[in-house]
Amino acid sequence: MTAAMDTMALGATPPRAEARTPRSRWLTLRRIVSQPKGAIGLALVLGYLLLAIFGPMLAPLDPFKQNFAQTLKPPSALHWFGTDQLGRDVFSRILLGARATLGVGVGGVAFAFLVGVPLGVLAAWRRGWFDAIVMRAIDVMLSFPDIVFALAIVAILGANTQNVIIAVGVVSIPIFARTARAVTLSILAEPYVEGLSSLGARPSRIILRHVLPNISGTLLTLSTLLFASTLLSASGLGFLGLGTQPPFPEWGTMLGEARSYIRSHPHLATFPGLFLAGSALAFNLLGDALRTVYDPTSRGVAPRRSWLDRLRRAKVAPAGAPAGEGDAVPALSVRGLRLAFRTPAGLLEVVRGVDLTLQAGRTLAVVGESGSGKTSLLRAVATLATPAQVAVVEGSIAVGGESAVGLSPAALMELRRRKIGVVFQDAASALNPVLTVGAQLAEAVRIGTDLDAAAVRARCVALLEDVGISDPERRLAMYPHQFSGGMKQRIVIAIALAQDPQLLLADEPTSALDVTIQQQILALLRDIQRRRGMAILIVTHDLNLVARFADDVAVMYAGSLVEAGEAAAVLRSPLHPYAQALRSSVPGGSRRGAPLPAIAGEPPMVGSLPGGCAFRPRCERTRGRPECAAREPAARPVDGRLVACHFAEEGRA
């Protein structure tokens, strides 16, 4: 009965318009069918539609033919679903009723759609008084329980199929109008709509050509879900005696009429009930599947690990004795690490054999463009790579001499707690918006310790002071959104420092911040590192940042390190052609107005790397050199650093 409200509830936070658009309708279809519920739902819906179209023709007996000698007979060879109170063939009536039943659903949804969507779209477009009036009217309509509203409409207009359609349609108008308004608003806020306005496009063009196609997915999903609830609403009206007209069969009315026979002659209610529930189920399934396709928030579900996959454990080298490069155990030691995404198509390598060593007190910057694998590397080191999504194919990670791969959950928690702190790129999303800063900080402080409340609080205050937040006592009771971006990042750092980690991992910690704030954060990190002597692994694409902040740098390209060494040296005279190009293509470095020495082409896609050297297609140095295509260059020491280029020496100035 309340299904309409339910759907609205889900629609209340309208899914953002589809960012990734299917290439074609077929792709949408394929996406639906690829989900079990979508396949079943679509098959059922098609079945029902066929039933509605051809059902009446298939009816083996006259669905209206009464026979008082044959009333209420159970299913038999002649009457597959038995006969009803008037001796009519239930099977034939169900076949005939498909059209009426689905007709009510289609009609109701179409009615609500045709009234609600234009209202909602216009309200979002016009805003102002029109919007105010529409929203108020919706408020008023929503103040009535929907079944009561439908009941009143049918009572006023009289009970017949057409009025039932209007009634169940009218109660769905607010949902359509609201959803259409919300999604339209979100589309109108899209930069491309702004672009169109500035282009001079007329409102009608924007609405028809841009807004409607973009909200169609959401509205299609909503329509499908509402279809199911509309069927049920209509049948509820039938139950209350206000449904469609006998003798023309409609499943809801048939079920309502048969309800007193539920025990004596179960077949009478069972079949229409099953068909009705089945059709609602079919549309719910399809709607669910559509939602998954169109609503980005419900996607991104981890591919399921197969049983085989679970058995086939990654071959991970034991961390064992850390490579004895120095006397001290390095804060981080990564050896031959290969990481791969699990995709439906199989494993997709994103990190292809990386070796890193980071000593305490030093800062290592991993530089690379998007897709280079630098973030995957950092997440693997942070032990945050979800096994269901990312596989450690090979290699080892040791934090403070302790392996970070293949640990039990308990050991993993312990490792994260004691040795690793992580600072994320987007501080806003790295803090839980509904908990106070104090609660989030205290959680990090308390875990694994037996400090009492006062001690925890004292430590929290100290941490906030450490990261340069004044008035920490008061700030502890505040929520993340009450802080500016820079302050939030300081809090994230404080959380990361809560258990005195040996290794601080920072993923683009400043790229979401303004330049002046970036400075503050970097100075803070530097300062903290000096005081605590921890190692920092920072991932960034900003060479300026590397220059002023990092001790060492590792340049990453297509999942491999192409050049690694001391930051000052590498930046001053890079040897690898990619590193060189990166450095010279930064504007401001070269002559004003002159063309920048750009790297041709686009960064390679993961999974479609060229054979041999991955940088080969964009490399100037490769011309006429078969080695580059034949063999992937291994990192080798050149001029006190590691370079993965067959012709590294040519890079010397």
Partner: protein
Amino acid sequence: MFIPRRLAQALPTLFVVSLLVFFFMDMIPGDPAQMLAGPAATDEEVQSIREFLGLNQPLLTRYGLFLKGLWDPSIATSFRTHRPVAVELAERLPNTLIVAIGGLALGLVVGTVSGVVCALRQGGFAEAIITVLTLTGISMPIYWLGLLCIWFFAVYLGWVPAAGASTPMHFVLPILVVATRPTAMFSRLITASLLEAMSKDYLDTARAKGLSETRVIVSHALRNSLVAAVSVAGVQFGGMLGGSVVTETVFGIPGVGRLLVDAVSRADYPVVQYTILMFAIFFVLINLATDLLTQWLDPRTREERRAA
């Protein structure tokens, strides 16, 4: 500050609702006097009853009396029982609320648990079962489910009474049946919002602190999902009040919903009008409560309100 402002904003809505309720009622076919008089009554008899009920007065006068009846219950009386509608409602409201709140609470608890299971066991057997159950739950006509349950639990197993509302046991079956829909809704909602929350950095922050996965889910992901669940709960609660029209008939519960249906079928105008108006006021209050609860759970909305 916030509460009075919201209530003040709701007044125009309620005013329009009162207009609609009052004037639509007049459009519903069925003359109350005629229905009271019965099919054998003469026109004169019907006329005199109409006179007695005050139905001959001008429409606006009657609307004025209708509004006056809001604070003077003694003039807002049922055509059939002559008792104040307020008294009739007060008598039956508890039953409706018990079923609605009970169903909602049960749905919230069961839905949350199954939602969490679904989110954590994506693609697993448990998820498939729960998905099938929840989808079936929202696809069943509630009255059919109710009748089947009466047959199975009350008649066949004899565990609970079949109908009525005199003992707590009477409410077990209605609450169970009424809870199916919210259970399904919450389950799906919690699953969806948990999955969304799973991709949030703050869960990784929590993991990086060294929290166990359970704590990460419960104290970080779930808390955020509840914000969404609360607003749905508000809508659900409203829906259940409306749905009481059907469930109370099925389970023989003397509640407001059945009072309304009876009153509609007997053209007992005052009962219908005041009951719907009460529903409308409830909806406004529920929205308010939902907003307050959301604000309590989600501090961000608090600021927005204050700033607005």
